[in-house]
Amino acid sequence: MTRSNAAPTARAPDAGGAATSVSHPPPVAIAPMQVLRADGTIVDPEFIASVPPADIARLYAAMVAQRVYDDRMIKMQRQGRLGFYLACTGEEACAYGPAYALRNDDWMYPAYREPGVALWRGFPLQTWVDNLVGNCDDPVKGRQMPVHWSARAQNVVSISSPVGTQIPQCAGTAYAMRQRGDDAVAICFFGEGTSSEGDFHVGLNFAGVAKAPAIFFCRNNGYAISTPYEKTTAAPHIALRAHGYGIRGQVVDGNDLFAVIKAVGEAAAYARAGHGPTLIEAKTYRLAAHSTSDDPKAYRSREEEAEALIQDPLPRLRRWLEAQGLWDEAREQQTQTEASEAILAALALAEAKPHPPLSTLFDDVFAARTPLLEAQALELAAHLASGESAYRAAGGH
């Protein structure tokens, strides 16, 4: 599939790929790139024509399933069966769009709200759920909070709780690809609140200097947990910061799956061509709470939330698919039922599995246990053997 760089709202990147001079800085487009508007208006028929409709149907089905999963996980948490959860609700296009636009060997550094980037690449639903439950099949061995999964086989790097650490890591990985002569790119995801972190500067500045094939994907959902956008920055757009780093910037309608695919696809092509990184700012809205520990009723109005529903990425896509004859109510119901059955089955399996053995606590930091670790392991074993205390989570003995 070929994608034109001649977006109506973004100037084409330097065709020649020559070193960017001061007089010709990379373009920063702040008019949001749109392909399919919420009201159904098609802005860029040429781009839509370039994407196989069946792919869009699959992406839509995955986004619907994601919403079912999220709903189930929040219920699980409220029932005391999950420690914590963060839903993607309202921002599905910002996960599934980039996942679709990139190649499977491109590196991904998600924040915490994009399980779709890995699920789309075939990360098993069961493994994802095993991590949320923290059982013995959790790739990170139950040591992390739920949601902080890892998908090595999918080239998706572990999620960190401290926001922004993934930005310089992404820049470094992209630089490594370039140094290695590999044409893979690296993308990282973060919120607009994170763009105020020092790591944002470190990562973007380095990537700009190194012309690293990186994509910095900022999901601007309006809130840094409870802090509204206006209180995190005085700048009207995060993407404007690209100017300061001498890199390409692009604002995109983050609720328009087509537009996200287009923006990420262009950024990837730009990077692979050796022009360097792009900062993408996807304007979206978090329809759900920040996390299960958050209650948006405390800081935003019901009116605002109702208004945001108009921009919901799912209905506009569904209307388009229905117009193509690719979707109907029966398919919608079937997709939801299948997703619900799949997630319930995965959860039943995950809850039945034992916890990771306690002895694994001492593994993985060093290739071999140091004498100190060995002593601690023995101490723990002796303590457990003494029966001094009962442990709820002592699945290991």
Partner: protein, 437 residues
């Protein structure tokens, strides 16, 4: 099979939540995900869906109650063959066995778990029925505002943080009862910077030990804090001559009844409390209901040190018991306390509390009232002291008594008169005999 649904920690590190609304009745059939109740925590307000299918057999809390995380909120009689039963039931069962589960256990759910103070805590429970979020309660505590006295302007009379702030700023004008020593503004006073903790312990001392406040300790903490936050304590100290009692005590010993001074004090207190002018002291206060219940009988709580911490077993009907009976009951109580086997029933119903430190008693103290009572008597060390009698200095057995009163209920002169009455009874045991039953 009965499934006990415990309140989960629905927001990282939340310890309690207010049950704001029940969405199911007892006897209702529920499916998995049926909304059960709404809960308001420091972080979120959330609807809690059922993890099981079955019939709601019991709701353990009422609307407005503050439920600790881990407490059983409701019991569901499961329909047979309910899915997911096995995996989820296992951790729940283990949790009950775990030692820390006691801390979280609902008061009504496991009386044996925390025998300590539950039964003598009606005021504490009553005040919890004030509608307010935990964060609001915390604010009230930190500002020294009695939340039970704040008029709520929120939904259903809920007390909001603004209400508390308003009550705090207007506290002097608005408070109907004086708080003579109320240290409310002190909370806002600049605190001396804490000395930095040295990163390494001095040689030979080992590391600092951090301990969680669990079980009885947690309970005691909450009770003491509550008492300090609500009652307007004032403490009256008097010196009492125990020489006459000491003589009686020796006579009884020679006659084969070994006793301490405590039974004499208990009788003196009971006799004084039964006098009409001191009925207000033998009473329970319910500030939220705005009532004072004058108790007909005198039931004395005896603060008792145990390995686990302070317990207050109760000797009932002290007004009608002989010295000999009291001696026997106190001995049995001490044995049970040592064996950690005080029956739950013995820990409730006191109308007045005596706290005695015996030989370690020191000179005087400022005892904290055992709510919902309105006074507590502290006994100290009896020792020989020089005393002026007539124009001579003589050696007498003397002891200080420290009696704390709730100034909201007990005026200063009443409290003083009560202590003087107890002193007179103890110094002239003939008076004690006159009313002895």
């Amino acid at each position: 099979m009965a499934f006990e649904f415990k309140l989960p920690d629905i927001g990282e590190g939340v310890v309690e939540g207010e049950l704001t609304k029940w969405l199911v009745d007892e006897g209702a059939d529920v499916a998995e995900d049926t909304p059960l109740f709404e809960v308001l925590t420091d972080k979120v307000s959330a609807v809690i869906p059922s993890p099981r299918r079955g019939r709601v057999s019991k709701r353990h809390f009422g609307e407005g109650d503050v439920v600790p995380v881990g407490a059983v909120v409701l019991t569901i009689e499961e329909a047979s063959g309910s899915s997911a039963a096995a995996p989820a039931a296992a951790p729940a069962g283990n949790a009950q066995a775990a030692p820390e589960a006691n801390v979280h256990a609902a008061p009504k759910a496991s009386p044996a778990a925390v025998p300590a103070m539950e039964p003598v805590a009606p005021l504490a429970q009553a005040s919890e029925r004030v509608r307010a979020a935990p964060a609001t309660r915390k604010l009230a505590r930190s500002l020294g505002v009695d939340i039970t006295r704040v008029a709520g302007t929120g939904d259903h009379g809920r007390v909001t943080q603004e209400d508390v702030s308003r009550a705090h700023t207007g506290v002097a004008a608005a408070a109907p009862a004086p708080r003579p020593s109320a240290p409310a503004p002190a909370a806002a006073a600049p605190r001396a910077p804490a000395a930095p903790t040295p990163p390494l312990a001095p040689t030979g001392l080992g590391a600092d030990e951090v301990q969680k406040l669990l079980g009885l300790r947690r309970k005691i903490s909450d009770r003491m804090r509550h008492s300090r936050d609500t009652a307007a304590h004032f403490t009256y100290v008097e010196e009492v001559d125990f020489t006459a009692i000491s003589v009686l005590k020796d006579q009884l010993r020679d006659a084969g009844l070994r006793t301490t001074y405590l039974p004499f004090v208990m009788k003196a207190v009971a006799i004084a409390l039964q006098r009409a002018e001191f009925h207000n002291i033998n009473a329970h206060v319910d500030y939220q209901a705005g009532t004072l219940t004058k108790k007909a009988g005198v039931h004395l709580g005896i603060a008792t040190a145990t390995d686990a911490g302070l317990l207050v077993p109760v000797v009932l009907d002290v007004h009608g018991k002989s010295l000999r009976t009291l001696v026997g009951e106190l001995a049995a109580m001490a044995d049970a306390a040592r064996a950690n086997a005080l029956p739950v029933a013995s820990l409730s119903g006191s109308t007045f509390t005596i706290t005695s430190l015996g030989k370690a008693g020191g000179m005087f103290a400022t005892p904290i009232i055992n709510q919902p009572e309105v006074a507590i008597l502290g006994l100290h060390k009896i020792e020989k002291r020089p005393v002026v009698v007539g124009d001579a200095i003589v050696i007498r057995e003397r002891m200080y008594m420290s009696c704390s009163f709730d100034h909201r209920i007990i005026d200063g002169h009443i409290g003083a008169a009560f202590v003087q009455a107890v002193r007179e009874l103890l110094e002239a045991p003939a008076l004690l005999l006159a009313d002895l039953r």
